[in-house]
């Protein structure tokens, strides 16, 4: 089978590998501390670790898009901002 049509690059490879890594880490965390640590945060409904990861990833995607939209060029800043956002989500949501 030929995968050339998928057009892989090193960058996107790293991108998907890190998402896979996040998921693996979540599974390991869940096995170590089962239950998903449910709590009611600033959104005022119950969230688990998995929900917080999803909110972080989706939010990060929009942070990157917003960064590009408002004329930012260097996406490393957007990445840094997303990291802060994710920390905030895991702390307070």
């Amino acid at each position: 089978m030929d995968f050339a049509w998928m057009g892989w690059t090193v960058f996107t490879g790293i991108f998907f590998a890190s998402i896979a890594l996040f998921l693996a880490a979540m599974i390991a965390w869940e096995i170590a501390r089962p239950g998903g640590a449910p709590r009611i945060g600033v959104l005022r409904f119950e969230t688990t670790r998995g929900d917080r990861l999803f909110v972080s990833l989706l939010g990060s995607a929009f942070i990157h898009l917003g960064w590009l939209f408002f004329g930012g060029t260097d996406l490393w800043w957007a990445l840094g901002l997303s990291a802060f956002y994710a920390l905030a989500v895991f702390r307070w949501v």
Binding site: G7, T9, T12, F15, E46, L58, F62, L65, F69
Partner: protein
């Protein structure tokens, strides 16, 4: 229902997981890969970074397509949801009348989407269509292939025709789960028609209504075939919605990179809105079962 922990359940889910992973994850990865590269065919790719995203996010073409899409989905929801509730409330509760209503109302839902476009294309034409001909006879200046407003009205009316029944059927299902005792109690208390709706029927319909809004939002936001057949996105670009624009770019012009970036932005918007709706539905469910 109390469910017990059992990790072996994963084996039952595995076929679905593999099948959907095959049809969803591989294409999605491909889209991400294309979105950061330029291609001239033959599987040759050149790295361009975030260029396509910058281009799409700042392009007039994307903004206007998104604007039209939001306006279309908003209009369609604003018409179909109240109309659907109203019709469901006025339907016979049981008996052969209800059966006939259900069968006839479900019919538009099962017509292939391109045929829906064809039906309205014929129906609205001035020379051979009942609607177009009648309007012309009444002296209304109506031509959906030339006039943007007429095209918009036709597309919205077509969608109302096509999908209001879904809202009706969902609401009807919600209403038929209300026990008769509730209505009798309301009658004894002398409740007004409005009070019955507000405090008995609406709460019971809340869940199905959320599902209706979720489904109608998702489907109207990805509408392609019906307006494509009816107006082809025209006149000009007046009814070019997001999917029509995307297909033009991806299949028509074979601009893999910009089309992929377009797809991702599009998908992220749908994902965000749908997640909000889905969360509201599940949180309500959780509260109801407490």
């Amino acid at each position: 229902m109390q469910r017990k922990h059992n990790q072996k359940a994963w084996f039952l889910v595995l076929p679905v997981f593999l099948l959907v992973a095959f049809s969803a994850i591989i294409p999605l990865m491909t889209v991400v890969n294309y979105s950061v590269q330029d291609s001239f065919g033959n599987n040759e790719f050149y790295w361009v970074g975030a260029e396509w995203f910058v281009e799409i996010l700042n392009s007039e073409r994307f903004h206007s397509a998104l604007g039209r899409q939001l306006m279309f989905s908003g209009l369609v929801l604003a018409i179909e949801v109240p109309l659907g509730i109203f019709i469901a409330l006025s339907m016979p509760k049981k008996g052969w009348g209800a059966s006939i209503c259900l069968v006839l109302m479900a019919l538009p839902l099962l017509i292939p989407w391109n045929v829906v476009g064809t039906i309205w294309q014929i129906f609205a034409r001035e020379d051979i269509g009942l609607l177009g001909h009648t309007l012309a006879a009444l002296g209304v200046d109506y031509n959906y292939t030339q006039d943007a407003v007429a095209a918009w009205i036709t597309v919205v009316v077509m969608d109302v025709w096509h999908w209001t029944s879904l809202v009706v059927l969902l609401c009807y299902a919600g209403l038929s789960s209300i026990p008769d005792a509730f209505y009798q109690a309301a009658k004894i208390d002398g409740a007004s028609r409005w009070a019955v709706f507000r405090y008995i029927q609406l709460p019971k319909m809340k869940r199905v209504l959320m599902i209706a809004v979720l489904l109608r939002f998702m489907d109207s936001f990805m509408i392609y075939t019906e307006p494509f057949v009816l107006t082809g996105g025209g006149p000009g670009n007046a009814t070019t919605f997001l999917s029509i624009d995307l297909v033009k770019m991806a299949i028509g012009q074979f601009d893999l990179g910009p089309a992929a970036a377009f797809s991702l932005v599009y998908f992220l918007i749908v994902l965000l809105v749908s997640w909000v709706f889905y969360t509201v539905v599940t949180v309500q469910d959780a509260e109801a079962s407490k």
